[in-house]
């Protein structure tokens, strides 16, 4: 590809919304600038650390939502599933005295089983996923009440469970982790470059690789500095990042992930290519249930309790809105797991900033709704432009 073609390609991708990530970064910078201008505590180390802790649970749930959105489907039950899974963990651990790890594993298994069940119903009976998971939303909320029983609320005391959202590493450990992350990223970049060169393919220039490496290194160093000048690097953030990186790897670099994109892009073409379309669908809904459970456990750990409201309120809508705001298409076949993190950051920043400004819930809901609508419109416009230029 010549340099000219590449430049034109970049411009087109910007206009048509393929570079949604850049758009989101600009939006996020804008949001941060506005709130910092209104309240200079917004960008303080303490508040930024709080922000990251606030978005950890939603971000984890959104990872599963991204997979479902890539299929062009929707899962309305993730909020309820996250609450139910947290309740299962709490009851097993607190009331039945289960080992905390076993209780967590059981909760994750419940989430996965629910996802697989909903995925099977959806693909076997060709019922819209919207309806199956809406039924699930109601049913699992009922199950949550049932599991919690008469008390209605269970306090978590086990340090293994509460530690998930309340562990902070010392400065030294934080820097070691940062160094490992940066070195690991550099290694991955170099390895990929070498493989392409070895196969006789055009690869990114060394300068391009260096730019990417420096960017990630700078972000990591800045983030670590911020965390260290507050309570330290939070375990919750590391868990979220690990899942984002891991699930992004699965969806972008493995055959399974490729098939998820294919089913979302053209299910009939995928079927004719020999892909087991229903198997992919069931697996994806299983992933959504699993990630919902993991997010629910994280939320419970942060709240130090599970109650009848767990997984309720606006959690579901924010978990779905996040990835869409950050550029995962509602129409299927386009997106990345990073949008789970970026979307949670955007929504979390708005919510956190408005809390700092002591705005009412009324305003918060309306603003968040407006941002979501804006994001969906941008997605739809990008799609129309693609169609306009002969791309579907």
């Amino acid at each position: 590809m010549s340099e000219g073609v590449r430049t034109r390609d970049t411009v087109r991708r910007l206009v048509q919304g393929d570079l949604a990530s850049l758009r989101v970064l600009i939006g996020l910078a804008l949001i941060w600038a506005i709130f910092q201008f209104e309240n200079d505590r917004f960008l303080s180390a303490q508040n930024l650390t709080n922000l990251m802790l606030q978005i950890a649970a939603t971000g984890l749930i959104s990872i599963g939502v991204v997979y479902v959105l890539l299929l062009g489907e929707i899962d309305l039950s993730v909020g309820a599933v996250s609450g139910l899974a947290a309740a299962v963990m709490a009851v097993l651990n607190v009331k039945h005295g289960w080992n905390p790890y076993l209780a967590i594993a059981a909760a994750v298994a419940v989430g996965m089983a629910i996802g697989v069940l909903q995925g099977s119903l959806f693909s076997r009976f060709v019922v819209p996923s919207f309806v199956v998971t809406l039924a699930g939303l109601l049913a699992w909320q009922g199950a949550l009440l049932q599991v919690l029983g008469s008390t209605g609320s269970i306090n978590l005391t086990d340090p293994k469970i509460t530690g998930l959202a309340n562990t902070f590493y010392s400065d030294a450990v934080g820097w070691i982790i940062a160094a490992v992350v940066v070195a690991g990223y550099g290694g991955v970049l170099l390895l990929g470059h070498r493989r392409r060169v070895a196969a006789g393919l055009e690869s990114q220039s060394m300068a391009g690789i260096a730019v990417r490496f420096v960017l990630v290194a700078v972000v990591t160093i800045v983030a670590t500095t911020i965390f260290n000048s507050d309570r330290g690097m939070p375990l919750a953030v590391l868990i979220l990042l690990a899942f984002v990186v891991g699930m992004e790897f699965v969806v972008k670099r493995t055959g399974f992930g490729r098939h998820v994109f294919a089913v979302g892009g053209n299910a009939e073409a995928a079927r004719r290519a020999g892909i087991r379309v229903n198997g992919i669908r069931i697996a994806v809904f299983g992933i959504a249930g699993t990630m919902a459970a993991i997010g629910g456990i994280m939320a419970a750990s942060r709240l130090l309790a599970v109650n009848q409201n767990s997984g309720g309120n606006e959690l579901l809508l924010l978990a779905i809105a996040g990835p869409v705001i950050a550029g995962t298409s509602l129409f299927g076949g386009r997106g990345s797991v990073w949008t789970a993190l970026m979307g949670a950051l955007v929504i979390g920043s708005i919510s956190n900033g408005m809390d700092l400004l002591a705005l009412s819930s009324a305003v918060k809901f309306m603003v968040t709704g407006g941002v979501l609508l804006l994001a969906v419109l941008v997605d739809a416009i990008a799609r129309q432009q693609r169609q306009g230029s002969g791309r579907v």
Partner: protein, 258 residues
């Protein structure tokens, strides 16, 4: 016209859908390194014939021989297993995936590893193979990493044909490969078909467009109301003869052709 054992041979193949006799004792053959144009009016049975060969419909009667051996084709996997690839009119491409991903869809190359989820796609190898295949076929595409949705109709058709070649088939069936293409794009696709012939493949091209068929086919096979209605060597016949066979006007034309 090629001689010797045909690669693919249909003998007395019939197919009935309820009261409709879609194929009526059709004999048909395609040899290696030969392009056969399959023409006929709407409802003449062209699609049914291709679908019978491709294993979408099983034939009611008749025999199918592949490489001289009698075979039974009752499902699509039977046909692909024998080495018969079909490119349907709708192409069945994923517009949101790039050229490499589409070519290898469903048969991705993976690096060794443990468990499906950790086995990484070997993108470098797939891209390398894609580049080689497309340049062998003289297919030019701006970038192997462009989304298929961004390509022109002719390029998409060529990608679909190239994909069918990855399974190393011996016979390729093309359903209306030039429909809805502009002049330049049609020329590209016809060139690609010629290169399939050079690779000693047996090629069957269904088309409504007689100009294209005459351009590329060695032999023209006419179906009319489910029956074989004429077979012409493209070099020694005229469009009028073929049209007459298609419409059934002037049965004499058919005899002349034979």
């Amino acid at each position: 016209m090629s001689t010797g054992t045909p690669l693919l041979e249909l003998e007395g193949v019939s197919k009935r859908f309820g009261p409709v006799q879609a194929l009526d004792r059709v004999d048909f053959a395609v040899h290696a390194g030969e392009v056969v144009g399959l023409v006929g009016d709407n409802g003449a049975g062209k699609s049914t014939m291709v679908k019978t060969i491709a294993g979408i419909h099983a034939a009611d009667e008749g025999t199918i021989r592949f490489d001289g051996q009698q075979v039974s084709i009752s499902k699509p996997q039977d046909a692909t297993g024998l080495g018969i690839a079909t490119v349907y009119q709708d192409l069945a491409l994923c517009d949101n995936l790039d050229v490499v991903a589409n070519l290898f869809l469903g048969r991705e190359e993976v690096s060794p590893g443990i468990g499906t989820a950790s086995r990484q796609l070997d993108e470098a190898r797939m891209e390398h193979q894609t580049g080689e295949l497309l340049s062998n076929l003289a297919v030019t595409i701006p970038s192997l990493r462009s989304e298929v949705g961004t390509l022109s109709g002719g390029q998409r058709q060529q990608v679909a044909v190239a994909r069918s070649l990855l399974g190393e088939p011996k016979v390729v069936l093309l359903d209306e490969p030039t429909a809805a293409l502009g002049v330049a794009q049609t020329a590209q696709v016809l060139n690609l078909i010629r290169r399939l012939r050079e690779r000693e493949l047996g090629v069957v091209v269904i088309s409504h467009n007689l100009v294209d068929v005459f351009e590329v086919a060695d032999r023209i096979f006419v179906l009319r109301l489910g029956k074989a209605a004429g077979e012409f060597a493209a070099e020694s016949t005229t469009e009028e003869h073929v049209v007459a066979a298609i419409t059934g006007v002037g049965r004499k034309a058919e005899e002349e052709g034979k």
